[in-house]
Assembly symmetry: C2
Homo-oligomer: 459 residues x 2
């Protein structure tokens, strides 16, 4: 299947227009490059300082490989994004940010990817634009310098709705390099909140046996607003990055006040509200830790939180398969979407079924056909809470017979990311299914507690 | 676009096989009939007593019209369902169910459509099958006879994952007829829980200005299990059906204990857990009423609950458009699914975007093309809680410019049902969009309260 993004916009730039070319070749942009030697290459522009100085760029191709392209060899460039966002200094190179970093404090590296936490209000449009550098962010939060010796790098500066599986790979690769360079330095990734939970799940699978904690952190209000949650979230994220927990977590406000932040396990968290500061919540799962930023205190909530691993145990697997899809079932669902995706070469489909994991019986023939074609079809529930069980009702048993893989209580979004990761890193379908069913990083909640369903106000 | 269900299974039955034919022509089944006069008709078999006795059946066609077909004129039948469920006495005719209905009590009509509430455990497979008639159900709950003069009818006996927009039309038509026959008799509809919220939304739009309350009720445990919630839910539903609230509600357990049930406004409710008895919850919205079944008491929670209307104000509009789809956005989303649906003639698309209602910018060209082709594209949020706002970020403003209709805080599932209903009942696109934006039956929560976000346990 051709990924949807391969449909190019009509932005064709010949090499002669140098300025336009450079704006198209910003790190994080998706482009198709036609070379003078007759190749057509599509991928994500990687953050490389050389781009601005030197003579070539590096593309991350869909198959996960990087390829260097000499600028002299470029015939034409097509942008696969409607427009490139303003991006400054996305070199991926680490720079010390605090004016005089205090030696002796534990180190934390802040990696910027964009989002509201790195945004300012645009007073012309009233909207919010991601254009704050990590440096400016740190200048605005002087407390950080008291907590850690802060270093920073900027990978992207994008709104997180534009994050794609390719970006996950770039982030995971960079982080893996940063970790191998200094396996004691904690990592904080600033990220837009829209797809932060997807990225958290992606890094949880890609970077297992972590020698350091990784905190993803964002803000629901831009950093230049008085009501911004950016500062406290970032302080809590730095505190988490210095803990002894070797897991990827999303660190955000735990309640609307400023008393505590939560570190949510990356595979069990969801953005559950479009605007609240406490939008991120663990789903029927205890968060890893509660963090009190004012008292600079972190309280572990789970004794099964994994400890930091040794560097030699750390084995990153950073590729993701783009030919996967998440489909939500509904009455009147068009089963031919499944047929279409199968015909286009999809490799994995995650269904969000009803209740314990159902779809109308009339959809089962399309599912069977997909599975017979070698597609892995996984069932999750659109209830979000509770587990899939395909043994109770006749529909479920028919789905099992057809070969559907039940995802238990795994979140639909996590199931999509896990399937994408498994398909990119393991060749054998049987092994992919077997690994999908195995609990790798806590994506299945093994300590289900009845009291973790939220309490609903009724009056 | 051809609805997905038009792909027939290879179940072709010639008229000679009478028994097989009858099993295919069970009410609620979807079939394609080839007539001797050369027609090919596809639709839902309506519950008609005549089928079993007489010489014709009635099909509900996709355009909403009913058509009678003489059995003698049938050449061949194709089942569009993998298999017909066991269905008994689905006549839609009303029969008094209590052995000696107590005159003087208020009347309630219980309309059966199937689901767990009408199911037994199948001790051969360990699964659950819908096969209890309303009569058996009532015999199991003698308390009901003390509350109301109960009448009953059975429309379908299906698992609710098999409910389709056509079923909504049949249920709405039947209920409208029952109401016009006796505009004082409350209505209780027993229904599977999987898609009960979708049906509740559908009836909320189709049956406005209700002279009587309509309660949809189900069970999370089948009625023959000691732990079943069926009895208390049904008692609460009957109590609701006798209230002065002229709205469609879902009536289910409010908490896991047996103290109270809740009547949720049909357009603001979601099944939020795959198995819990208190799975149904109103989303950032107060339920209409709290019902204490043991004390036979109903406490109204909202003073904006609509009162019963006069019969002459009741104006049912029962049709639903099947050419609508709900698509959930995710990183790596295949935008070509939108192109495919547009090419197949889709009329409305509800997107479940991220955060305040976003998708990757690269998807916007496909959305623009859909809108230019006359498709109505609506934006909701996969956060479930909170509202869509397309004015804050650049992506949102681009979506607005493209002509996307923001759905505010309307639930994605409700937005799908509303769009389906509007497109079937109003010809003018402008009017459809205008009505979509207007709050018709409380689908937009006008009393948003910050304390209605659920409380999450954090340790």
């Amino acid at each position: 299947m051709k990924p949807a993004s391969q449909k190019a916009l009509e932005v064709r730039v010949p090499l002669s227009d140098k300025a336009r070319l450079e704006s198209l070749l910003k790190p994080g942009s998706r482009v198709r490059i036609y070379t003078k030697s007759g190749l057509s290459l599509e991928g994500l522009v990687l953050p490389r300082y050389e781009l601005y100085k030197g003579k070539h760029i590096t593309l991350k191709l869909d198959n996960g490989y990087n390829i260097g392209i000499s600028l002299d060899n470029i015939e034409r460039v097509e942008s696969l994004e409607p427009r490139a966002l303003k991006a400054e200094e996305h070199t991926g190179e680490i720079v010390p940010e605090a004016p005089k970093p205090r030696k002796g404090l534990p180190k934390t590296l802040i990696v910027g990817t964009g989002g509201t936490i790195a945004s300012r209000v645009d007073y012309q449009t009233g909207g919010v634009k991601p254009e704050l550098t990590s440096k400016e962010l740190l200048e605005a939060i002087p407390e950080l310098a008291e907590l850690a010796e802060i270093e920073a790098s900027v990978l992207f500066n994008i709104l997180s709705e534009n994050m794609e599986p390719e970006h996950w790979t770039v982030i995971a690769e960079k982080i893996a390099r940063y970790i191998s360079e200094d396996p004691k330095r904690g990592i904080v990734i600033t990220h837009g909140t829209d797809t932060m939970a997807y990225t958290a799940a992606a890094l949880s699978f890609a970077l297992q046996n972590l020698p350091v904690p990784i905190a993803l952190v964002g803000a629901q209000r831009s950093s230049d607003r008085p009501s911004s949650d950016a500062a406290l979230n970032l302080i809590a994220a730095v505190l988490y990055s210095q803990s002894n927990i070797g897991e990827v977590a999303v660190v955000m406000h735990g309640e609307t006040g400023d008393t505590y932040m939560l570190a949510h396990r990356g595979v069990r968290v969801r953005k559950m509200h479009s605007t609240r500061r406490d939008a991120f919540q663990s789903i029927e799962s205890l968060p890893l830790a509660k963090i009190y930023p004012v008292h600079q205190k972190l309280v572990k909530l789970r004794d099964d939180a994994r400890a930091r691993s040794r560097l030699d145990e750390f084995e990153p697997k950073v590729r993701f398969e783009r030919r996967v899809a998440l489909l939500k079932y509904h009455p009147g669902f068009h089963a031919d979407i499944i047929d279409y995706l199968v015909d286009r070469g999809i490799r994995g489909i995650v269904l969000e079924g009803t209740g314990m994991g159902h779809v109308a019986e009339r959809v089962i023939p399309s599912i069977s056909r997909a599975i017979e074609s070698g597609v892995i079809v996984v069932m999750t529930t659109q209830c979000i809470f509770g587990t899939v069980n395909l043994n109770v009702y006749s529909t479920g048993r028919m789905l099992l017979q057809a070969g559907v893989v039940p995802a238990g209580d795994m979140l639909p979004e996590t199931a999509l990311v896990k399937l994408s990761w498994l398909l990119a890193n393991y060749d054998d379908t049987k092994e992919v299914v077997e690994l999908f069913k195995r609990n790798l990083v806590g994506e299945y909640e093994e300590r289900r507690r009845v009291d973790l369903f939220p309490r609903w106000p009724h009056g």
